[in-house]
Symmetry: C2
Subunit: 303 residues, 2 copies
């Protein structure tokens, strides 16, 4: 094995991803599991991390940098927040060491928007953002980071001016699983209906106030006119994503949107932005968080 | 017992309500249970109805008129739909007899909006509407019927011109029960926070596109600034109701809104409309459906 420099961990609420990186950020090894914050609490964060390090044969003195919910109050060690307007370098300066460990382990803080009229928090996305825009960014950007809790960030002069969290992914899960729409989408897992998705994005984006009515129409439409479970599923997804984009862009003027996403989610949001004729530049989320963690490691351990 | 003329039943998805009425619509007896369409399928609709009729000692020749989901395809006997634009008297003309019963039992049809761009259906609310506006209405009105699936109806010249269903109540249930907001509202059942509710109604009504972000702020706000579970619960409720009112009024000009609701829901919506300075006249939903069923009985059996 080539010279490992750092272990980088993105420790989310429900997922755990670990990369063994060389000093240039090259990937020497990788581990993924569903031992997110919620699952890791019982066996203990130290034990979960150690088992993955052992599986990759990581040296005992190799340091570990972590971002995400492991730094939440209910996580491993609370890593606090950098407040908006936030310089991304402040995240590196405020990394919190995990005490009483045989190796050097640091957890990066999140970002908080302590605005009583729009309170918001992020943990993990700040590191993606760092990887995506870099340490020396001075530009403006509107950044969309889709997921269970999608983040829309306004960057001004390289700083995180403000952001908002949209519960798109979580709402999709519960609407599909546990409402009158559940029957409408039964058996749709494998199929896709891009046209139904695009139509729903457009309508919800144009009439966001009708969102919860557009959702019900998915069922009524199937009842009155027929239609596949796949079309129903994509219409629900499109409605919630169209609503999110309308909200995310509500107070933004800067274009294009910077999309930080991976896999199916990246593809869906690209289709949505295209349907709305909103220009977008796309950055892979996995790469971004790995790059951000590598930057953090370089800054913390001066390599 | 005075002379019973009709049994009136509002048979919803999850609730069953029965009234024994005299010829003037006066209440001689009442039964309520959770044997809605879903629960009644197994024991059988006829058996459920019969047990309640026996409990009230109803005569064997007393006829029964039913509205609601008992007339759905997956209900007792399918009662079809009257299509929009719909005359409310058409509902009475299209009542469907339940076959092979020892007494005369009729189920009222629902209303369908067979518009491919806004398909929608109602079952039960058409009878509330009939009771609220009467058989001879020729006026215009915007009617709000809140619930698990709130209905907003546009009446023109006494006809149901069109309507939309908002999943407000169902979304509230699942968001409170099964998301990241569940902890934020834990233990809030008994308490209330009217100010938090009003603020949330106003903000969501003004910025409906931000709805799913406003929901997340309920959690972030509690994390950053504290705040009670009751305030969190009312903020979620207010956000979803504010979103609904924005959507319900999006294409409407007629004021005041006619609110058909009962109990706590009536009170909440009255507070919401007041917070938004939207004039409203309020009609009790229980009374409306009973009056509608009485009108139906009179028309069907010419009493």
């Amino acid at each position: 094995m080539s010279q490992a420099a750092t272990v980088a961990v993105d420790w989310g609420t429900s997922s755990f991803r670990l990369w063994l990186l060389d000093s240039a950020g090259g990937i020497l090894g990788e581990r993924r599991s569903d031992q997110g914050m919620m699952a890791a609490a019982k066996p203990g964060f130290a034990n979960v991390l150690q088992s993955h390090l052992e599986a990759l044969g990581v040296a005992a003195d190799c340091p570990v940098v972590i971002c995400g919910m492991a730094g939440a109050r209910q996580g491993w060690v609370e890593a606090g927040y950098v407040d908006t307007p936030a310089r991304l370098t402040d995240i590196l300066d405020r990394a919190v060491p995990v005490p009483l460990q045989s190796r050097d382990i640091r957890i990066l803080p999140g970002i908080a928007q302590r605005d009583a009229t729009a309170p918001d928090v992020m943990r993990g996305e700040e590191t993606q953002l760092l990887g995506a825009v870099g340490l020396n960014s001075v530009g403006d950007a509107v950044v969309c980071m889709p997921g269970t809790h999608s983040k829309w960030v306004t960057m001004r002069g390289g700083m995180v001016e403000g952001f908002g969290t949209f519960m798109t992914g979580e709402l999709f899960s519960i609407v599909v699983r546990d409402t009158i729409l559940t029957h409408a989408v039964a058996g749709a897992e494998a199929a896709e209906d891009i046209d139904a998705f695009k139509r729903a994005v457009e309508v919800a984006h144009d009439q966001p106030a009708l969102a919860s009515s557009l959702l019900f129409q998915v069922r009524s439409g199937q009842l009155l006119f027929g239609g596949s479970a796949a079309a129903a599923r994509e219409a629900i997804s499109g409605t919630l994503i169209g609503l999110e984009i309308a909200g995310g862009l509500a107070r933004q003027l800067t274009e294009p949107v910077t999309l930080i996403a991976s896999g199916r989610l990246a593809r869906l949001y690209l289709i949505a932005f295209e349907a709305l004729s909103i220009p977008v530049r796309s950055i892979d989320a996995d790469e971004a968080v790995r790059r951000g963690l590598t930057m953090a490691a370089s800054a913390i351990w001066k390599r």
